[in-house]
């Protein structure tokens, strides 16, 4: 070990990680990045908010939706740009005529050749096309192939496979003791009653911990019947869901707890 490595404009990697927590972009043209994720740059780079004047057409080309354009910045010019996010692990991924859905808070930056859309799963964004993007995760990213069931908090995103469905494990709540547990809450829950289940061909991206990165607001989905997360019609909570231990349910209501 010999002290810190000193980088200059030539020794900084081009479109590669400087180390696990910082990514260096060789900029010649445009990149989109989330607000506040640039930590340093060399060269002539301008940062514009999207939606002002001449950049309006970008919204049509890359965002397809004005709703979350306000969270993004266009970096334009030539030089090297360093991206990082609160010392989370940063990785770049290449998409070749593919699609990848990612938790909105985890996406840091992407090339304009990709187009960004809101996933129909609330809180996720989908990138479609060919290009490179940079994403952050809490701990290194692990790639898994379906079929697999994933803790909701550990999921970073998925590529080329169908959207996940919910899976519930409540075997231990069956039988007499299980019923007792479900009604009294004695014994607690394992915290693993609910997973996302992936099937089909593709890749699932996991982070190494169940601690989520803070969510990024990606604009509200229009309130419309039939749109997930659109808030059109909210069903009475819990009527369809299996009852969790600790939640006294009907007993709770009966005694006015």
């Amino acid at each position: 070990m010999t002290g810190p490595v000193v980088h200059d404009v030539h020794s900084l990697p081009a479109d590669d990680n400087v180390h696990a927590y910082a990514f260096s972009v060789e900029l010649d043209g445009q990149w989109f990045l989330q607000k506040g994720k640039m930590i340093a740059y060399y060269g002539q780079i301008d940062f514009h908010g999207i939606g002002h004047g001449r950049l309006d057409r970008l919204i049509a080309g890359s965002f397809h939706s004005p709703l979350h354009a306000a969270d993004w910045v266009v970096a334009e010019g030539r030089g090297k740009m360093l991206l990082a996010d609160r010392a989370f692990d940063v990785n770049s991924f290449d998409l070749e005529d593919g699609n990848l859905t990612i938790r909105s808070g985890n996406l840091l930056a992407f090339q304009p050749s990709l187009s960004l859309k809101q996933s129909i799963i609330p809180g996720f964004l989908t990138l479609i096309g060919t290009g490179k993007f940079v994403a952050a995760s809490n701990g290194p990213v692990v790639f898994m192939e379906p079929p697999i069931r994933v803790d909701p908090q550990a999921l970073v995103g998925w590529a080329d496979c169908p959207s996940p469905c919910h899976h519930y494990d409540h075997q231990y709540l069956q039988g007499f003791l299980g019923g007792l547990r479900a009604h009294t809450g004695i014994g607690g829950a394992s915290g693993e009653e609910h997973q996302f289940e992936f099937v089909g061909a593709g890749t699932v991206l996991l982070q190494s911990t169940e601690q989520l990165m803070p969510e990024l607001a990606t604009g509200a989905v229009p309130t419309e019947a039939g749109v997930p997360g659109g808030g059109g019609h909210v069903p009475q909570s819990g009527s369809q869901l299996p009852q969790l231990p600790g939640n006294l349910g009907s007993l709770q209501r009966r005694f006015g707890l």
């Binding site: 701990g139 692990v142 898994m144 069931r149 394992s190 915290g191 693993e192 190494s208 911990t209 169940e210």
Partner: protein
């Protein structure tokens, strides 16, 4: 049922029929196959007696039993995970540092005072272990969590190891530990070095030290 480290913060465990393992509740990240996660009322092995023992000792971290066929990935809180393979020795570790362990390991609780009397109890207070610590004995493996990476330091009879109590994670083998103090008048007037308490481990075994003085 060996644990395989996928990266510094995540381990994968393979589980087959008739086997089981225990893990901290909520520490499962993903799994393949048919695996069930049942909250464990007793906080580990044994009957009601062991449960009461652990409750009193404050070593009753909520655990769940993992059974079935498949592979399970574990990780928790972004902490580094270190896999310890035991071949008959005893591992001494705090229950809340145990991410997951083989169901075949014999789980027990040890009173700190049984190693060094009152000084042992003081030592427990300084290292954050409290008055009791968990022991795992037998053949199998355990995944231990630490803040920052884990360094293994071998202890031989000729070479005792001194460890900062806050960086201490766990130890295994036939190891005697005692708290050595180097308190002087400087500490009394608030000009101490901050290293007044050290844990001295001697005997035959290994001590695990984390690269941080932050507790879990």
């Amino acid at each position: 049922m060996p644990f395989t480290a996928l990266n510094s913060r995540m381990v994968e465990a393979r589980i087959g029929p008739g086997q089981r393992l225990f893990s901290q509740r909520g520490a499962m990240l993903a799994y393949r196959g048919e695996v069930s996660f049942t909250p464990n009322l007793q906080g580990g092995q044994g009957g009601i007696g062991s449960m009461i023992g652990r409750r009193i000792a404050g070593e009753a971290t909520p655990l769940m039993t993992v059974e079935g066929t498949g592979t399970v990935m574990f990780g928790h809180g972004g902490h580094h995970v270190h896999v310890v393979d035991l071949t008959g020795e005893t591992l001494y570790v705090e229950a809340d540092r145990l991410l997951a362990f083989d169901g075949g390991l014999q789980q027990g609780t040890m009173f700190m005072g049984s190693q060094g009397g009152v000084m042992g109890m003081v030592r427990g207070q300084v290292t954050g272990q409290g008055l009791f610590t968990t022991t795992l004995k037998g053949v199998g493996s355990a995944a231990v969590m630490a803040h920052g990476g884990v360094i293994e330091l071998p202890i031989t009879p000729q070479r005792p190891v001194h460890v900062d109590p806050q960086a201490y994670v766990a130890h295994r083998g036939d190891v005697r530990n005692k708290l050595s103090t180097a308190l002087g008048w400087r500490d009394m007037v608030g000009r101490g070095s901050g290293e007044a308490f050290q844990l001295e481990l001697s005997g035959q075994g290994t001590v695990y030290v984390q690269a941080s003085e932050e507790k879990l």
